[in-house]
């Protein structure tokens, strides 16, 4: 087991290096200059030249690449071209917000997905199963940005207009008076702002998990040891929840690791619509303003998290299922 983990970790290094190289060259082969956005017309060319030299943009591409890789290996992501502070400072601010959003979504997706999957498997081909299947496919087909907008329309704007007691905030992460609230009220405030973004992401992602859990459950239920458990006279709830569920959970766990990319791309839209100051917003803004160091750092971190997700999924799989041996 230990050697397997080590081997996978070592294998991830060339992958990450490849990703970093891809990011760098896609960015630098693109037409246009990153400093073009910093200057209006009428700026003397010496100033532009000096700025380019300050950012190291006058050096040959290969040298820039080596500098960048070396700096990244030290954990130094450089300076933002547009915000006048280090990229690390921007990341320190944005990353926690995205992690709060993604983690709460991931937990909800897992719990809800497994629950509906098990329910559907136990009641296969009943009306409830069919309704849930169609509903899942419906949300699965929905673009997350539109779902977000409809939730805002109904639960924020219209709910406020019609005077519903639970009108939810549509943008931001805390109220204006957050600083003056008590600790309990602060937690409540943050939760209130989490509801709509997390609901959007969860609805968009839960369909895949529930469907997979249903399929796994149906496969496990047909196996011999379940028949044995029933033959021993165990109550059905124990057969399902103890024997079947445990065995069908293993592949679902791995699925969650593979879901990270979808979660991140969903987060880009959700953060954009709900003005959630996380990585998704940082990356979109940086791309639109051609802030090269920020783009490179954020997309590299996204890719690293994706690789880490599938790595953790594989390791969990090997750990949870004793039948699988990777030697």
């Amino acid at each position: 087991m230990g050697s397997y983990v080590l081997r996978r970790l070592l294998g991830a290094i060339p992958l990450l290096l490849g990703i970093a190289t891809l990011i760098f060259f896609v960015l630098h082969l693109a037409p246009g200059d990153p400093t073009a956005f910093l200057f209006g017309p009428g700026i003397p060319p010496e100033v532009i030249e000096q700025t380019r030299r300050n950012y190291g943009l006058d050096q040959p591409l290969a040298l820039q690449y080596l500098h960048w890789i070396a700096a990244m290996a030290r954990g130094d992501f450089g300076w933002s071209l547009t915000q006048g502070r280090t990229v690390s400072a921007i990341l320190r601010e944005a990353l926690p917000n995205t992690i709060v959003l993604s983690l709460s979504t991931l937990i909800l997706v897992f719990v809800l997905g497994v629950l509906t999957g098990v329910y559907q498997a136990v009641r296969q081909y009943t009306i409830g199963d069919n309704i849930l299947s169609v509903a899942a496919l419906f949300f699965y087909s929905m673009p997350s940005f539109w779902l977000a907008m409809m939730l805002v329309l109904i639960f924020a704007l219209k709910a406020y207009q019609w005077g519903w007691p639970f009108a939810l905030p549509a943008t931001g992460i805390t109220s204006v008076d957050y600083e003056f609230l008590s600790t309990a009220a602060r937690i409540g405030d943050r939760l209130k702002y989490l509801v709509l973004p997390v609901t959007t992401l969860t609805l968009a992602l839960v369909a895949g998990v529930s469907r997979y859990a249903r399929g796994q459950m149906l496969e496990v239920v047909r196996q011999d040891f379940i028949r044995t458990a029933r033959a021993k006279g165990l109550p059905e709830s124990r057969v399902i929840l103890k024997h079947a569920l445990r065995n069908s959970l293993i592949p679902v766990i791995t699925l969650l690791g593979l879901y990270l990319p979808f979660l991140f791309s969903g987060a880009v839209f959700v953060e954009y619509i709900f003005a959630w100051p996380g990585m998704g917003r940082v990356i979109v803004d940086a791309i639109l303003q051609r802030d090269y160091p920020v783009i490179m750092a954020t997309s590299f971190i996204f890719s690293t998290l994706t690789v880490a997700g599938s790595l953790i999924a594989d390791i969990l799989y090997a750990w949870a299922d004793p039948r699988i041996r990777y030697d």
């Binding site: 992958l15 490849g18 990703i19 891809l22 990011i23 896609v26 960015l27 693109a30 037409p31 246009g32 169609v134 496919l137 419906f138 699965y140 087909s141 929905m142 673009p143 997350s144 940005f145 539109w146 907008m149 409809m150 805002v152 329309l153 704007l157 207009q161 990319p261 991140f264 791309s265 880009v268 839209f269 954009y272 619509i273 990356i283 979109v284 791309i287 639109l288 051609r290 783009i295 954020t298 997309s299 996204f302 890719s303 994706t306 690789v307 599938s310």
Partner: protein
């Protein structure tokens, strides 16, 4: 005997006038309706747009001409198809049926999937017939003070936007961009994915590990970020969008195909082909790839829906074809700033996306169940 012959000739007569009527007279209602309803729909479009068709020779643009030709083709094709179908005896399931025929029969039993495929066909037809279906220009602005933010009504089915443009027409014309991108980009990605996967699985060894490492690399790159990056830095034209979407989606297909080819390579018929001394391309294209087509078709169908959502997302972020071109994502974005006073602007194009993608997903699921013998 004579009665039966008389009845059959009567049904043939009816069928030679109105497609599907003959089937109805012969008691094959379901099959008759599949000809009759689309034909009636096309005919009513022709009747509804008769003034515009009449004015066509003088003023028609290329768009209009394509629409009229399509309409004429549909009317004739359905009629001919129905006439031929009426003459040929209904097929009975038998031992000599091909795999595809058996799959088609299973697919036809899945009502949701059949409904989905009808919806897709109708959409592609509507895309070509757009000039005859929409009474309004999708781009031109009329007197804004009178037409801005009109709620949905008989005149404007989906209402109008800030600039007084008819949302229904914009959604209709927007389908051209979305459906074209979805179809072409997926065609690119599926072709590329199948070729790479077949090569990796069949060649094995170093070729396999190089292709698969590269696949892993592309898979672990956040696709949306890559798309935004390329579209924002290069160009927002249709061509770039199609290429970018097509060239980033192949890894999933590659993985599926490679897995299947790995086991196919060891099968007797492939070994026999190798022993017969066939060249590798022939073995790949004639013996290996036809056997992996079923999962490829499924992943292509699901891929079109996926691509449409992604394209809408890019347009929503302002990275689609530039305005005033009508794109579904772009209209939703327009509606975002006027959600309170004009909910219809964002709602209807979004609903259209959901319906279209749902249709593709239903068809994909239906195909998966129908094409895989284990799932039948």
């Amino acid at each position: 005997m004579t009665d039966a012959r008389a009845a059959s000739s009567a049904s043939r007569l009816a069928g030679s006038i109105i497609p599907g009527a003959g089937h109805l007279a012969a008691g094959r209602a379901a099959r008759g309706l599949t000809f009759l309803l689309p034909w009636l729909a096309c005919a009513s479009v022709a009747v509804g747009a008769r003034h515009r068709i009449a004015a066509m020779p003088a003023t028609g643009s290329l768009d209009d001409r394509i629409a009229v030709v399509t309409l004429g083709f549909l009317l004739v094709a359905i009629w001919v198809g129905a006439a031929f179908d009426l003459r040929s005896p209904p097929r009975v399931p038998g031992p000599g049926d091909s795999q595809w025929l058996i799959a088609a029969r299973h697919f036809n039993r899945n009502r949701l999937a059949v409904a989905g495929s009808w919806l897709i066909l109708a959409l592609y037809a509507a895309m070509l017939l757009a000039p005859l279906l929409s009474p309004w220009d999708p781009i031109a602005q009329a007197n804004i003070s009178q037409t801005t933010f009109l709620p949905p009504s008989g005149q404007h089915l989906f209402g109008t936007d800030r600039l007084g443009r008819d949302i229904f027409s914009r959604v209709l014309y927007g389908s051209r961009i979305s459906l074209t991108i979805g179809f072409v980009a997926t065609a690119i990605s599926v072709t590329l994915g199948t070729l790479l996967g077949a090569m990796a699985g069949y060649a094995g060894g170093r070729v396999d590990s190089v292709i698969m490492r590269f696949t892993d690399l592309v898979l672990s790159f956040p696709r949306l970020v890559l798309l935004i990056l390329i579209v924002a830095l290069f160009d927002r034209s249709l061509l770039v969008l199609i290429l970018v979407l097509g060239l980033t989606q192949w890894p999933t297909t590659t993985r599926i195909v490679r897995g299947d080819v790995l086991s196919l390579r060891e099968r007797e018929f492939v070994q026999a082909a190798i022993a017969l001394g066939y060249r590798t391309p022939r073995i790949l294209f004639r013996h290996v790839i036809p056997n992996v087509l079923a999962p490829v078709i499924v992943s292509a169908t699901l891929g079109i829906g996926n691509t449409i959502v992604l394209e809408a997302g890019l347009s929503f972020l302002g990275l689609g074809p530039p305005p005033p071109a009508p794109t579904w994502g772009g209209i939703v974005n327009d509606g975002g700033s006027s959600l309170i006073n004009a909910w219809w602007v964002a709602t209807f194009p979004g609903l259209t996306i959901v319906l279209v993608v749902l249709a593709f997903n239903l068809v994909g699921d239906g195909l998966r169940d129908a094409l895989d013998p284990r799932l039948r």
